[in-house]
């Protein structure tokens, strides 16, 4: 666990830094891959930038709507850099809408664009795993297995490392698939969703911080299962379409 990296007088918060690094590396990778899917690299950058800006504005507005009095009392907080003043759900929705609007205006093909974004998403998944290792969040349940790690007062499953291994494997598999197999639009993105949802569904069982609903079910597993079902349905539909055309 290393939430802060001290470099001389500079205290570098490792979790956000690893996410920023992943964003940069992922974008660089996606930029190289995008032309193979017929998406110009600069369009991909603009799309990502639009999504980030719309997401940030939406996340801050979403938070302001939840706690208006806090901002009436302190208007300067409107422009605060505190990430804690962002609502992730509002940000996700606004980012998605921003990207859809930009994509429509720039006439980007929907499935090709999602494929072009897949390297970025896969690298971001690795970045999240590294951020979890650094912060000690997303920790595991207690275990007596020999590879358990001492964290937060107990020996626990090293779920952050499981997550890192799964994310790196997904990235590597997609890298191989993108070169060798089916190049129909959407397959790569749906394969990424199916793989990521599968390992999340599996690994969530070892997490000690799961949000539990309906008398003991882990909510992240239910979301992952739904995503897996949607991705498999999408893959099936595309394969069927492909075989009809072929």
């Amino acid at each position: 666990m290393l939430p802060i990296l001290q470099i001389g007088p500079l205290a570098l918060p490792v979790p956000p830094f690893s996410l920023l690094l992943a964003l940069w590396l992922g974008l660089s990778l996606a930029e190289k891959f995008a032309p193979r899917r017929g998406i110009p690299a600069d369009a991909l950058y603009n799309l990502t930038f639009t999504g980030l800006v719309a997401g940030l504005i939406g996340a801050r507005l979403g938070y302001i709507f939840q706690y208006p009095n806090a901002f009436i009392d302190s208007p300067l907080s409107l422009v605060s850099l505190n990430p804690g003043l962002l609502d992730p759900f509002a940000g996700f929705a606004a980012g998605l809408i921003g990207m859809l609007v930009y994509g429509q205006r720039a006439r980007l093909a929907f499935w090709n664009t999602l494929d072009a974004l897949t390297p970025l998403l896969a690298v971001m998944a690795v970045g999240f795993a590294v951020a979890h290792i650094a912060s000690g969040e997303a920790f595991g349940t207690e275990t007596s297995l020999p590879w358990g790690i001492d964290l937060w007062g107990a020996t626990r499953h090293p779920t952050q490392f499981y997550e890192l291994i799964a994310a790196v494997l997904t990235l590597s598999l997609l890298g191989v698939w993108s070169k060798k197999t089916d190049t129909r639009a959407g397959i790569l993105f749906l394969a990424f969703v199916a793989l990521t949802a599968s390992w999340r569904l599996f690994l969530e069982a070892f997490r000690g911080d799961s949000v539990v609903i309906l008398g003991g079910l882990r909510s992240a597993q239910i979301v992952a299962w739904l995503l897996l079902a949607a991705a498999l349905a999408g893959l099936d539909r595309m394969k069927r379409k492909g075989s009809q055309h072929g």
Partner: protein, 186 residues
């Protein structure tokens, strides 16, 4: 041949989804199995580690005696610029919510500060909440502080709800978090 392959793929997808449902059911958390709030650790979802320390005025304060209140443990030092910036906002929020059950425990990491400098800063900013002096560095170590300021929002049940490493925290962040936690009070 392609239709046969398609059929196998569908079978595999169906098998995967049924396996997934089985795994969700198998890995469900049994009632009472959670360690939430049972183990003390300086992390969200855990019991806030207890400490006892003297205030700058010489009174003794124990965190465990304050159960039932919403508490912000803010670990700071007078030489730390973001600590100095956020302290007036903490004071403002404390004055606004103290009558509703909110308390600030500002722990001066005296092990890396001096009592005289801490006192001067407290006087300068007219801080009215308890200032604890961590002369041995025990609280700083107990809360695994790697960066100043470090803030811990603790609910009325004694469980840490959020950890904020670094600063300065905006006033809106402080008041929105406190407002949310105060809703848990009866």
């Amino acid at each position: 041949m392609k239709f046969v392959q398609q059929g196998y793929a569908r079978l595999f997808y169906g098998f995967l989804l049924i396996l997934g449902l089985g795994w969700i059911w198998f890995s469900a958390v049994p009632a009472g199995a959670t360690t939430r709030g049972k183990i003390p650790a300086p992390q969200t979802g855990f019991l806030a580690p207890n400490f006892t320390a003297k205030t700058i005025d010489g009174e003794t304060v124990s965190l465990s005696d304050l159960r039932g209140k919403v508490i912000l443990v803010n670990i700071w030092a007078s030489w730390c610029p973001p600590c100095r910036v956020e302290m007036p906002a903490i004071e403002h929020v404390y004055r606004t919510y103290k009558d509703r059950g909110f308390l600030v425990l500002a722990v001066d990491s005296t092990v890396q500060d001096t009592a005289a400098n801490a006192q001067a800063f407290v006087n300068e900013n007219q801080l009215s909440f308890p200032i604890l002096m961590d002369e041995s560095g025990e609280i700083t170590r107990l809360y695994r502080v790697q960066s100043l300021p470090s803030s811990f929002f603790i609910g009325p049940d004694g469980i840490i709800r959020e950890v904020v490493i670094g600063g300065p925290m905006a006033q809106a962040l402080l008041s929105s978090r406190v407002e949310k936690l105060l809703k848990e009070l009866p």
